[in-house]
Structures are given as structure tokens and as C-alpha cells.
Symmetry: C2
Subunit: 390 residues, 2 copies
Amino acid sequence: MSVRFELHEKPHPHILVTDLISVQAVDRSFFGTEVNGKKIHLTLSPEEALYLMDVRKAECETPDGKPASFNDVAGAFDGPKFLARYFSFRDWRDRGLIVRPMDEAEGPYGRSPSEKYPAADYKPPTVAAKGQFFYDDLMSVIDDNEEGSRLYEQHWFGQFGTYKAKKHGQFLKLDAYETLFLARHGKYKLNVSAKKIEELALERRPDFLELYQVYEDWRLRGFVPKTGFKFGTHFRLYFPGAKPTMESGEWMHSRHVIHCFPRSAKMLISEWARAIRVAHGVKKTFILAIPGASVHPKKNLLDFLLYHRKGGDIETPRHDKPTYVMLALSEEEQIGGQELAESIEQAKALGLDLILAICDRETAVTYYRVKRIEIPKSKYEYYEIEWVQP
Amino acid sequence: MSVRFELHEKPHPHILVTDLISVQAVDRSFFGTEVNGKKIHLTLSPEEALYLMDVRKAECETPDGKPASFNDVAGAFDGPKFLARYFSFRDWRDRGLIVRPMDEAEGPYGRSPSEKYPAADYKPPTVAAKGQFFYDDLMSVIDDNEEGSRLYEQHWFGQFGTYKAKKHGQFLKLDAYETLFLARHGKYKLNVSAKKIEELALERRPDFLELYQVYEDWRLRGFVPKTGFKFGTHFRLYFPGAKPTMESGEWMHSRHVIHCFPRSAKMLISEWARAIRVAHGVKKTFILAIPGASVHPKKNLLDFLLYHRKGGDIETPRHDKPTYVMLALSEEEQIGGQELAESIEQAKALGLDLILAICDRETAVTYYRVKRIEIPKSKYEYYEIEWVQP
């Protein structure tokens, strides 16, 4: 006999499991919540009820005994991200794993260790040549080749000669981030002021200053960020000590890329996911940068507590702590930098890693795991985002 | 002895090659333009002059005999996309290939054949069940499983059951494009009007109607566009006759993705290139859609005539027609849909394929070739964009 439950519309939509066999079946599979602290009746969240109807052929009725369909139940609860939440819930359960409502969270669970990066102190060089800034290209050129090749070889600023062929051609070409950095930290003089460079760059891309802040923060910790254009991101990243050529004369490969998401920016999930996909495709670690001061989140933004596996066993609320916390999103949703930062902050407060579950227009779900990074002395928050298949 | 030339500032900045040996050397390599129809003196474009200085160690002087550096020459000509043009010019020449100025174009050259796609007439089905639209998810659900599986199996609308596991779970889930298409062409009735769906979708993404127009155009020609989320684009595309499962029970793989670029939209080149990169990474053909009426371009937007190879030989202006026409762009530049459409239109009028050369912040150049697609009876213009290494 299949599981049965009732859809009540009053005083607000809720779902009740009352018959003993259904209560036991539902509870055994970690669905439902006790009513009044007793397991005589259970309430189901809409996701739980729809899952049991969709996948386990449960039957739902109204109090007067009429059958309630998927759309009757779902329609009664429709609201923000309703289906995105449902399909993300369903996908996690379909993997044989447990999902529980956020209000069961206790925490901090201490299951969110951060990744430590090898920062180093860095003293920027003083530039002993004048540069020419090209206003529409947002780049500068130093045509003093002695000074140019020194800045390139010893500090890896700009590109001397030709990309991957330093000895073909000459002159040092610096992008807007490098130019502004050297103007501020290396007494680099140009045909325009640093202020003017900022203005011109801001006209081109409104997020220029946030990108610069991220560039500067990594540079001052000894890292070398270069353009990430080939990898679809704002920067690719080399660890402290990197030089444009290795001793063997081979090109050095970066293993990290940085994508900057300003707090004030809004972005379609699909566009954001695209950046992660490129990085994944070229086997680089994707680093998310959210510059600016962190704030304390006001209301709960997270969707579900997730239980995962330990060895060969699945973790359950009976014996284990939750493993992750899920933020469910849909492909065509906008997300703000601030909202994402707050979600990560909430996960951190619970001591759990955040899993972003993105439900596409075909209801397929993709998961991204967010891990915190620790860089001594850095000013902002950074996270590794990893595409995972749970 | 190296090539020598002069930078003149008056009446406007220009570069002159006057000594016989330099004139001959420059002309032999297909640089320079005759002055007054005679090869006694040549003028050089700034790109040509800088290339000769940068790579061939040419010397430039002012009329009073003072040496002019790279920045002296470049600074005299600085303007829109100055360095992007120069580095794109340089990269093409560095490959041993010839670049010539646009004003030498004669055309039409008849070297831009279009790719023909197999369109078919398509009659949309009539939907015999009511759907529930979920306003924040922009999706609808049909919970009548008989009608749902018919629409899925015979027409591949939506997703029945679970993605890649149709028999797990039930109910048909349709995205906003499919929902609106069936409301307009298949009498699909929902809890909201088609008008309301448009409004809700437009709030979420301002380019919704353009995306829908593209979806509708391909659907009515018999193609099946589905979400391209996994491939970082708006749609992935199946050719006429495609079904959700092949006879062998295997999943069908798409080989094309569609990215829609509205004429009124502006986009950073880096973001646009990212979409092409993902498609390339998963070995799909990237189709650019520019919906809306085509217009005739007012001013020339193109940068250079390009000569390429024929068999093992390079093509030259002495014996051959140009092969392509180049639009040079830089990573951090904004491009508009209209501007791109006009550039393609100009290339078409010349009878040449367009090459987009994108110069990144490190002066490395990436090339994309634009090929026109012909789809009988379709309303809009479509192009295959292919990453090429000339």
C-alpha cells in the first residue's frame, strides 16, 4: 500500500500524515517532522510531499477525500524558487542521500575547514622610466627596454616582446591593473594621472575598481595575477616566486583562476556558472573573490541541511551531523554578490561548507562546493568553487 | 642597414619612407602605400611603422633628425582601439601572412559561402491538458502523465520524469520558452496568460523576448532547441527529427549550441568570448543568433584586409584576392549586438568571411572566424563562430 497524506489549506497550506503505516514509512526514510513533539502525526514540507508523490507514488487527498494532484499541492505552496528547491531536493534524495529542513540546524558543526594559501610579503619595484597610456586600450607601454625587461623578468609585470616569445619584438606592455598598481606602489609616471586611468577604466567596466582591489590584494601578498582571458575569467594566478619563464625555458602554467563578483553586482546564474565551467574545462581551480567589507546576514537564505556519505555509509540525522548546507538556485535566476556573500557567511556560522545546487531549465541539477581560503594579511574573502558530483 | 622613415606631425600625423633602399625593402614585404600613385615615396600606416620598429628594428626620426621612439610614434596616433589594432596586425604578420589597409578593398570577392542547414516544416501539437505556471521559476508543469509523455516523446517538449532517466519520477516540466511557444502555437492553457508569462520572464531577464524569438524561429523550422546551461549557452540544438531517446535507448548528443546576442545589448568581449570557449571545450559548433531586422551599416567598422594561405603558399596582394576581413577588438572592450551585426554585414558585402581578432591584456591574439548559415524560411541571421589558429 502506498503512503497517503492530506493537503490542508487552512489556516495556511500544510501537509499532514496521519495513518500509522504512512507515518512509519515516511519516518523510516527520514521524511517529515513530528507534530507537537510526538511521532503520532507528521507534517511534510512541500518538497517532501511532492517527492513522495513524484517518485514513490504516494497519494495525497484534500480533507474531504478528493485526490490532490502534483499541481494542486505545488500550486498551493508556489513561491520564490519553489521548483528549484524541489528539484534540488529531489536530486539529492535520488542519490540515496538525506535532506532535512534548515530549522533543524544547530551548529556550529565544525565541518568547514579552510584552505591555507602560501602568502609572502612583497615589495613593489620603483619604475625608472616613463610610460605612455593608451586611453581606449586601457594599457600602457614602456619603451625603455632595459627597465621594461627588468620589470618583466624580475616582477612579471606586463608582457615584454611577444606573448610566449619574449625575445620576438620588444617594449613592455602593461594592462590597466598593472599600470595602476605601479602608479600607486611603484612611482610609475605616465602621460596621464592615476586618477584619470581609474576614470577611463570605470567608463569601460563599472566593476574596474573591485577588480583592481582584488589584483592589488593578491599582488601585495606576493602572488602574480595575470589576465585570465584564455580561461574565461578575470585573472589567472601564479603563486609567490613565479617568473615568466622557468629555468628550463619552459612556459609556466597557472593552476588557479580568479573571478571577481562585486557585492553590488547582479548576475544571471547561467552566466556565473559559465565562468566556473571554463575553469573546470581547463583543469584550473576557480577562486571566487568578493571584495568589500563583510556584513552579517539578516535573514536565512539557505535551503536545506544535507547529509552525505562517510566511507561506504550514508550519514543520517539519527547518528550524524549534517555535512553541508544547500543554497538552491535556478538557471535563469539573478544572484547578487552580496546575497552570495551572505549565504557563504551563514554556512560558515553553521560550520558547514556551502553547496550551490543549480537547477537548469530541464530540471537537471549541478552542484558546486564552496570552500573558504585563508590568505594571511589579505583584505578580502576568497573561496574555491569546485564542481562536484555527490 | 635597417629601414628608416620619418614621423611628420603636420598637417596631421603621418609616416613617410623616402630613401630608396628603405622604400624597396618595405615594398618587397608588402608594407606601405604609394604616394601620388608612384613608388618613389611610401606612406606607412601607424601599425606598419610600429611593426617595423618593434620586430624589424627599423629606425624612425622626426623631420629635424631626432630619434622617435615607439611611444613617440604610437602616442602621435593614439585613438580608438589603437593597440588592439596594432597587436592584431602584428600577430597576423608574425605568422608570415599579409595584412593590408581596408581602403584597398574592392570586392565583392565571392569568398564567403554560407553553410546550409536542413530545415523542415513543423506543425506544433495541440496541448490537451492544463498546466500550472510557477511564477518565480518561470517553468510550467503538466501533471497529466498521458499528455505529458506524448508531448515529450513525440515532440521533445520539456522533461518528463528525470533528466536522462525519463522513467524515474513523472510529470512534464516545461521551461519558459517551451511554455510560451505551446501557449502561442499549441493552445496550451495555464493558470496565467501568455502575456503574464512574458512580463514575469522579462522582469528576470531583459533579453527574454529576443531569446524566445530565436527559440521560436528554430522550432518552427523543425529544430529542437533545449537549454544550453551545461554548455554555457542559451540553447543546445538538435536537428529535425531528433527525439529524446534514440532507438537503442541511448541519450542523443547535440552538436550545436546557440548564443543569442540582441542588437540593443552590449557585452564585454571577455564575457562573449567565454561563451565561445565553453562551446569549443565541449566540441560543439557555436551558433551566434542576432534577432531583429538587419540594417545597412553607415560607416566602415572593419580594420584590415587579410591574406592567408593557399596550399603551402601565402597569398599576396600581388597575385591574390584577400581571404578575410578583420575586426580587431580588445578583451576589455564592450561590443554591441548591432555593431557586430553591422560588421558581419560589411564583410558579407565584400564577399569575405569576417575574422574577429581579440587582443587580450597580455597582447596575445585569439581569432574567431564568422561563417554565415542559411536556414530556409528562417526570420533571422545566424552565424557559426569558430575558434581558428591561422
